[in-house]
Each structure stands twice: as C-alpha cells, then as structure tokens.
C-alpha cells in the first residue's frame, strides 16, 4: 500500500514537472502571438504591463479569473462545465508521451504515435459538448463545423503518420526521433511535412481555418456562451494543443531533440533543440494567422478531402513502394 502511495506521489511530481512549464509556455505563447501580430501590423503590441509587456499574460489570466462565470439558464449544466475540462485535460494528457529530450519522457510507450493520434481525435468532444450543452444556435453551428473539420483533417494526419512510421519502423516516438539521426524526415518527406503542418492548423482550429469561431458568421462559435474560468480553459486548451501539434511536427519531421546538422560541437542539451524547433513551428502558426485570410467552409472541406487525402494516400503508396524497391524497409524488433 505504501509503495502504491509512493508511486502515485512520484508520478504526480513528474506530471507537475511537465505541466507547470507547459502552462507557462501557454501563457507566453499568447503574448508571443500578440507580439508577432503586432510586428506584422507594424505596431508595438502589449508593452505596458511589466518590461516589454512580459507580465501581460499574468494580468490577462487574473482578469479572466476575476470575472463571473455565467451559465445560460437553458444550458445543460453538467455537460456545459465538463466540455472545457475535457478540452483542457486532453490537450495536457497528450504530453505524457512527448520525448522532450533523449530519455526525458514521462511514459515511453510502444504505441506513442497512436496515443497522440487517439488524444487528438478525442479533442473534438470538448467542442461538440460545448456546442450542444450551450443550447444556443451559434455554438451549435460552430461545433458542427468544427467536428466535421477536425474529423476530415485527421484522415490526412493519419496518412502522414503512417508514412513516417513506415520510414522509422516503429510506433515509439523516441525510436522515430532516433531514426532521423542520418537525415530529418522533412527532407525526404517534404510534401508530407507541408500536409501535416496545414492539417495541424485545421486540427487546432487556427487561422486560416478558424471557422468554428468565425466571429463574422458565428459570433464566437462554440465558445459564444462561455465566460470567465470556463472560457480560459478553452483558450488555454487551444494554445496547449497548438504547442502539442508543433511538438508532434518537431518529432515527426524535424528530428526532435537532435541538433541541427553541423552544430553538434555546440553541445546544447537536447531539450533546447526541441524547444527551438517547436518555437519555430509555433512562429509559423502565428505568421500564417497574420498573413492569410480565413477560408470559406466549402473550400476548407475541398482541400481536406479532395486534395490532401489523395495526395497523402498516394505518398503512402509511393513511400512504401520506394522502401520495398530499395530494400530499405526498417526491420528490428
């Protein structure tokens, strides 16, 4: 019994060690987003609260916490409160299998990629539940759009993952990174990397695919009725899943914690490289938001089903064929 309690305590401490920095990253990602958007608009961005506006996320968080939680009268209260919790929990739970550096991972499981895929495919529930429980038109329409969008783009993400797994010969994330020691997969699988990046924009409901919260058409989509703490959870969940998708892109295509070719002499610790690469992908997320107008819904669906799906399917077949033809299929255990 004592052993079990000790194990639980130890695991809790490890989880906190992972989640607390992650939450700090989420907070500062919001600041980074405002700064990047400001730079794109040739403004200064937040610069009043603290030096260079560095305390702005704390002020924002505090403001959110101090607001009143409004639950609509006709809403389904339990589901309404549960929805943001589901969203937020799932976006944190996925981090259990992310190898931040060599041997620095909470759970080094055999099927890490599938776990990530499973978690990201469940993220849609937070949004559907929110839309349904709000008992209001715009949230419901936003939730339906969002569910269709996320389910559609998961298909191509699935094929991208299959391609990478074919090349790496393992479903374990650490093994996938190790398989990239010779060459990062972004080089041989560039089209798949692009498909993955665009699909991850759609999967996290980010611009230019932020149709679920299309403010011009749907007020704020699924989050219309939410306020205060509950809204904050949606907000943080969205940013945490952005970081998660970037981390996934880093692991699948940019060689995880491996140093840039030719810079091994710097001897930077692995997690620094991991953080730098993830930050680069996050910057792309923000850059895209500052640059591109929002897609129309039918265009979004067209790209997902008629462009990405055939393209990624063809690339899976091509990769498998090439690996068999050159006898390069990875074996091992």
């Amino acid at each position: 019994m004592l052993d079990a309690v000790l194990t639980v305590l130890q695991v809790t401490a490890l989880i906190l060690l992972l989640v607390v920095p992650l939450l700090a990253c989420v907070a500062y990602l919001t600041l980074a987003e405002r700064k990047v958007l400001a730079a794109a608009h040739r403004r200064r961005g937040p610069n009043v609260v603290g030096p260079f506006g560095l305390l702005q996320p704390l002020a924002d968080g505090l403001k959110m916490l101090a607001k009143e939680t409004v639950i609509p009268t006709r809403a389904n209260r339990v589901v309404f409160v549960l929805a943001p919790v589901v969203m937020f929990t799932l976006s944190l739970a996925a981090w259990a299998v992310i190898p931040v550096s060599e041997r620095v991972v909470l759970a080094d499981i055999n099927v890490g990629v599938l776990y990530l895929f499973a978690i990201s495919s469940m993220a849609v529930y937070g949004i559907i539940m929110a839309g349904w429980a709000s008992n209001s038109k715009y949230p419901f329409l936003g939730a339906l759009r969002s569910a269709a969008q996320m389910v559609s783009y998961e298909v191509s993400i699935g094929f991208v993952i299959v391609t990478v797994v074919l090349c790496a010969g393992s479903l374990n994330l650490t093994e996938i990174v190790r398989a990239q020691e010779k060459i990062w997969y972004v080089v041989p699988l560039l089209p798949m990397a692009v498909v993955f990046f665009i699909s991850s924009l759609a999967e996290t409901n980010r611009a230019p695919f932020d149709l679920p919260e299309d403010e011009a058409a749907l007020v704020a989509g699924y989050a219309t009725e939410y306020s205060s703490m509950l809204f904050l959870m949606f907000f943080m969940g969205e940013y945490a899943s952005m970081i998660l998708m970037s981390a996934m892109g880093t692991i699948l295509f940019l060689g995880g914690w491996l140093p840039l070719p030719g810079t091994a002499a710097l001897a930077l610790p692995g997690f620094v490289w991991f953080a730098l690469k993830t930050a680069f992908l996050l910057f792309l997320f923000l850059w895209v938001r500052a640059t591109l107008p929002r897609y129309r819904y039918d265009q979004l669906m067209r790209i997902g089903w008629k462009v990405f799906l055939p393209l990624s399917l063809a690339w899976v077949v091509l990769t498998a064929g090439a690996l068999v033809a050159f006898d390069a299929l990875p074996g091992g255990k």
């Binding site: 019994m1 599938l114 499973a118 495919s121 539940m129 389910v151 265009q299």
Partner: protein, 200 residues
C-alpha cells in the same frame, strides 16, 4: 493492492456502470456520452491486458470516429427517447441478453477458440506480432474485410447522393488558370450606343 489491480477494478466498475446508464439514460445524447465513457474504459482494460495496440485502436476508431458520428446523428435529429414502453421490449431484450451470456459462458468454459493466449515470441511487441499475423497468415481475410467496408461505403454514398441540377460549383483550377485577357474586355462604345452582351 497493486496499481494494475486498482486500475482494473476502476475501469471495469466504470465500464459496467456507464453501460447501465447507456440503456437507462433519459436523453439520447447522454446515452451516447455514457457509451463513449464505456469505450474509454474498455480501451483502458485492453491496455491493462497488455494489448496496447487494440486499446489505441479502440480510442481512435470507436471514440474518435464512430461515436462522433453517433453524436452527430443524435444531436441533429434530437428525437428524444424512442416511443413504446420498456415492458413491451423486455422479452426481446432478455433473449438477446441470454444469448450473449450463453456465449460468454461458453468462451469461459471452453477457453476461447484458440485456447489460452500464448506468450509472444521473444522480444516482439504485440503491435508487430499482430501486424505480421494480419499481413501474412490472414492477409486474404484482411483484404476481404477492407473490400466489404468499401462496398458498404459506396452503398451509403449511392443511397444518400442526390443529383441536384442548377448548382453552381466553384472550380479552383479554372480560376487559377484564368488570365486577364479571357475575362476582361475593354470596350469603347459609340456615344448613345452602349455596350451589349453580343455586340463587339
């Protein structure tokens, strides 16, 4: 009590309870939510059994895709509870339950079709073992299952697809290859004549 045992009892208890709620919930949407909870716990049981691949597939396929569709249908139709009293359905329900129970008892007594599970040959993860089996010994059956699913999909599309005349579709390729010369023409109409569609 060791941690796996604890998780086993937790998962099975929640699984049983949520299965009961699936049947007894008043709102259909709630029933689907409980069904999802049951799927999640079934996945947990698979993982505890060491079948992590099946567990993840349970999450991806059932929770991530099938239940989303259920939820979609139930939410958009929102029919409420199907009519008719529970008592009228009781005999059929009991019969179905009895058949399932008999099958389970049979499996428990006979030890399943393949006897007790064998340990995996040294050092092979069960995902890899499963893959080897499916793509070698059972490749034909696997392909057949795929073909059946394909037929079902085509059937659903044929049944649901309507041809609607008069829909103006966007053709992005044509939009991209369009050039200024084909789409804009400059006119210099005579005074009082105006520009007409036909007149050039």
């Amino acid at each position: 009590m060791a941690a796996p045992d604890l998780f086993f009892w937790l998962c099975s208890a929640v699984l049983m309870l949520s299965s009961v709620f699936v049947v007894s919930a008043r709102s259909l949407v709630h029933a689907v939510f409980f069904l999802i909870l049951a799927f999640l716990n079934a996945a947990g049981l698979f993982i505890l059994l060491g079948a992590e691949f099946l567990g993840m597939m349970m999450l991806i396929v059932y929770v991530g895709a099938v239940a989303v569709l259920f939820l979609f249908v139930v939410m958009t139709l929102d029919t409420g509870r199907p009519g008719g009293s529970l008592r009228a359905r009781l005999p059929a329900a009991l019969a179905a339950g009895a058949i399932l129970l008999l099958e389970l008892a049979f499996v428990a007594v006979a030890g399943g079709p393949g006897g007790s599970p064998e340990p995996l040959p040294g050092g092979v993860s069960n995902t890899r073992a499963l893959g080897r089996l499916i793509y070698t010994d059972y490749a034909a059956l696997f392909e057949l299952a795929g073909a059946i699913l394909l037929v079902a999909m085509i059937g659903a599309i044929v049944l649901a697809h309507r041809y609607r005349p008069g829909v103006r579709r966007q053709n992005p390729v044509r939009q991209f290859v369009r050039r200024q010369g084909e789409s804009v023409r400059l006119e210099d109409p005579a005074v009082g004549a105006g520009v007409s569609e036909q007149g050039r």
